[in-house]
């Protein structure tokens, strides 16, 4: 039952894309004009960003045009592709090193970050895997399988190092596992493991991470060194006030803020446009989240639902992490702000994810029935018991024989379910 897509998603995309373009120009132009490295060209980043915008629009259209069935079919290739790129980037001589990290592939002036693309590929793969697995995700075997595959990606990404992207992927995995009905105890267990993993990384890994942690806890203690990023960012945001210092009039962008057009662009926006602007940005990401979950609730197909949730969550999660760093409630990790941070790979990935969401919105059944609280429809209400769910994993744990029987049952049900949903688009 193919329908018209939700145009508000397109509108959101356009607003954010435009805001990003304007703010990247504002944040980067004065310093580019002053520095010889950029040929004193104030349009240096704007020009490159516009190229990225075109590529991004291409990615958006591609994602929109893709046939979900084919996407589903080739999803293992997505995972393999991501894996391959992430391995390649780590190979000396192939991966390009910059700012102390081996994150780029490519040649000449054309480079990209495989880890960024991996985010989108991972969302597709994860959605397909969980949709296919269905209720079997309650089985620890499947749970561990997908967790293991994800951790493999994360390890490769972290090896670059790029903790931010690795954390985004972890976040999406947890969200998607929960929505797919995985056992909460398992989810909490891997969360605990993740926390332990991060602690281990902090102690054994790069020393800058401990400093970042200290700086997070009290940035003003060492405002000139380890706390510098956060302090300058807080000064930018705080001095913006309600209405900001005025568009283009940021003072902090003059070499006070580091990475003012990439990771810290939100600080420039907050300073120039004040609370009015910063809150608008936060609202736009909330709207993306809302659209993602609304779209998910309105589609009957597991894969499409998970695709919508995954895409929206991936964008929103990154936005939360990035803004959190800028306003000092998340420790410093290099996560770009979708749409707004300068960076081709990030923008293309974000646009692709929005394209997927826009694509999924075509398959929604909008009959005045949202997924909001209390709008549950009677027809879906029969024969389902929450507690029954929780019993299943218990059974699995307690009795191996019972396990297998249950799986067969569930498998049958899921399969028929899936068939029904996937055929629907073709019927229309």
């Amino acid at each position: 039952m193919k329908k018209n897509p939700d145009l508000s998603i397109l509108l959101l995309t356009a607003i954010l894309l435009l805001t990003g373009t304007i703010m990247i120009f504002s944040a980067s132009s004065p310093t580019c004009a002053m520095l010889e490295d950029f040929n004193n060209d104030q349009y240096y980043y704007l020009k490159r960003h516009l190229t990225n915008v075109f590529l991004g629009i291409g990615a958006f259209i591609l994602a929109y045009k893709l046939d979900p069935k084919k996407l589903e079919k080739y999803s293992p290739l997505c995972y393999l592709g991501a894996l391959l790129m992430l391995i390649m980037v780590l190979l000396p001589g192939i991966g390009i090193v910059a700012k102390g990290a081996r994150r780029w592939l490519g040649f000449g002036s054309f480079t990209f970050q495989p880890a960024e693309f991996a985010k989108a590929l991972f969302v597709i793969f994860l959605a397909e895997f969980l949709a296919k697995t269905g209720d079997k995700i309650k089985n620890i075997k499947y749970f561990l399988k997908i967790t293991g595959l994800t951790i493999l990606l994360m390890i490769l990404i972290e090896a670059e190092p790029d903790l931010g992207t690795a954390l985004s992927i972890a976040g999406i995995l947890i969200i998607m596992l929960y929505i797919s009905g995985a056992n909460i105890k398992y989810i909490l267990s891997i969360c605990a493991l993740g926390v332990i993993g991060i602690c281990v990384l902090l102690i054994t890994g790069h020393s800058y991470r401990i400093n970042r942690m200290k700086a997070f806890l009290n940035p003003w203690q060492d405002a000139q060194d380890t706390g510098y990023h956060v302090c300058q960012s807080l000064i930018a945001v705080g001095s913006g006030g309600v209405t900001g210092v005025g568009f283009g009039d940021s003072r902090q962008k003059f070499f006070y803020l580091p990475e003012q057009h990439t990771d810290f662009i939100f600080a420039v926006i907050s300073e120039e446009l004040g609370f009015v602007g910063s809150f608008m940005i936060v609202m736009l990401f909330i709207l993306i989240l809302y659209k993602g979950f609304k779209t998910a609730s309105e589609t009957n197909d597991s894969f499409l639902r998970l695709l919508a949730v995954g895409s929206a969550s991936m964008i929103a999660f990154q936005a939360f992490m990035n803004i959190g760093v800028v306003i000092g409630i998340v420790p410093c990790t290099g996560i770009p702000l979708p749409f707004l941070s300068y960076g081709g790979s990030s923008l293309i990935t974000t646009m692709f994810l929005m394209g997927l969401l826009f694509n999924v919105s075509k398959y929604c059944s909008r009959h005045g029935r949202g997924w909001e609280l209390g709008s549950d429809d009677e027809e879906f209400d029969s024969g389902y018991d929450d507690e029954q769910d929780d019993e299943v994993p218990d059974n699995i744990q307690n009795d191996a024989k019972k396990e297998s029987k249950n799986y067969e049952d569930k498998n049958n049900i899921t399969k028929s379910d899936l068939d029904e949903y996937t055929e629907t688009p073709e019927k229309t």
Partner: protein
Amino acid sequence: MIGWKKKVRKRLIDVFYILLLLFCILAYRLVSLQIFQNETYKDKAEQQHKGTVSLPALRGSIMDRKYITLANSMALSSVAADPTQIKDRKKTALLLSQVLGISEELLESKITIPTTFVWIERKIEDEKAKKIEDLKLDGVFLLKESTGKRFYPKGELASHILGCTGIDDQGLDGIEAVMDNYLKGKPGEMSAEMDRDGRIIPGGVSSIISAIQGYSVVLTIDESVQYIVENSLEKAVKAYGADSGSVLVMDAKTGEILALANKPDYKSTDPKSPNYMQLTRNSCVCDSYEPGSTFKVILAAAALDSGKVKLDDQIQCGNTIQAGGWTLHNANDGFGGNPTENITDILAYSFNTGSVAIGLKMGSKIFYDYIEKFGFGQLTGIELPGETEGILLPLNDWTEINLATISFGQGIAVTPLQIVSAVQGAINQGEQMKPRIIKQILDSEGNIVKDFKPEVKSRPISSETSYQINMILRNVIERGTGTKAKIPGYLTGGKSGTANIVENGVYAQGKYIASFIGYVPAEDPKFVMLVKIKNPKGTIWGGSVAGPIFSEIGREILWRLGIPPSFPNEINKLGATPQKNE
């Protein structure tokens, strides 16, 4: 399964609300930072952005006593550029280099500096500024700098007095240095917001406090007198093949310095010239020398004023005299001394033997007290930098030989200013005035801020003694060693001096300082002048070397100042220079 769908819906809602909660935390934090803590962060931001740039004040002028400008500053244009606005660097550099005469490479490197503001060339001439304005180059602009290069409209005239300024308009030497506090004015201030490296953020200027122009300094120097002095001195130093020469002219009544010159001098505007340190020394106040016979004026004044010697006393003279186990001679200048002479003749013919006898008669204590009263061994307090007090042995260290040699001006070192000031006191009815070179301080509108009046410094001798000294010194000119210093038509008084030069603590063989100190017109002195020539070749005697210079300069000054002659007839007869037998 339909039930499964419901479960999904519930979990979807859970996740949405959890994520929404995260965003609410962001929003809460934004409210806290941007609304409630706005003031705190605004202060922090201001603290780190605010900076000030000093706006230099226009430096005041230096003028002579007739308000003729000797040094001044102008507001000048400076060329600056915003490299980010320059489109064609090669072309811009080429065009600028044609006007400014700076190499293209240097200019190009300047306009490639990554900033929005860079100085190309500061304080350029108006013509060049006009040309650059006409070029209308993108990113190149002219700024009126409130302070300009220092200009000395009279060239090197009075360079030892005026001194010089550095590139930042600070006084380095001379009046420029001593009066810097008055001249420099009060710089203004521009508050601006700066980037992390201290560059002004475009549009970041918040307030400008204008600079206050510096005061002008009026000197006691008379520009025309100074010109005569410098001109003649330069010629004389060359003519005698001397190492150097100094002339100091002081108003005989007020102690105001009318002219002060040392030759060779230096370009007052170029601190990079070779021998700069040596050439900038203002010998008239910074260097002391052994005055030789000119010091006999002080001896005579002390002897007469103390009553130890009367005008008609016959004093032991002859050609040698014993003192402290040494035999002292007269100078080998052709004048022979009788066994006894009176004080007038001892000075007129500059007998060392007679002078020693006067000194011995008077005794160390009395002589020393007079020397001190006349201001030797002390700073005069002139408003010029680097003044020295000379060398005056403490009384306790005086032995007979010291007393004897100091009586004819050896074994004591004085500055030209000290001796001129002392003679001024000796002939001005015993009133020694404080030597001054500053007359007035004016504000930028020409109102008098400070007026320096003549000031009696001390009364070393009585007016009677002063009259006697005046009479004795006229005799020096009329019939003694100073006949060549006579200025035709004017009654002149003075004393010559020839002294050994001390080099490295010993008297240098065959090197002398020939000097003459005199005043004119003797019946009512207008000015006292010292002419001092260091190491002249050929003739070495003060009367023969410095005397004629005194006469020449003195005559011109008198004419220039319009002082009526004592004997108009003598001038009328002046077809040829007066011939006198010697």
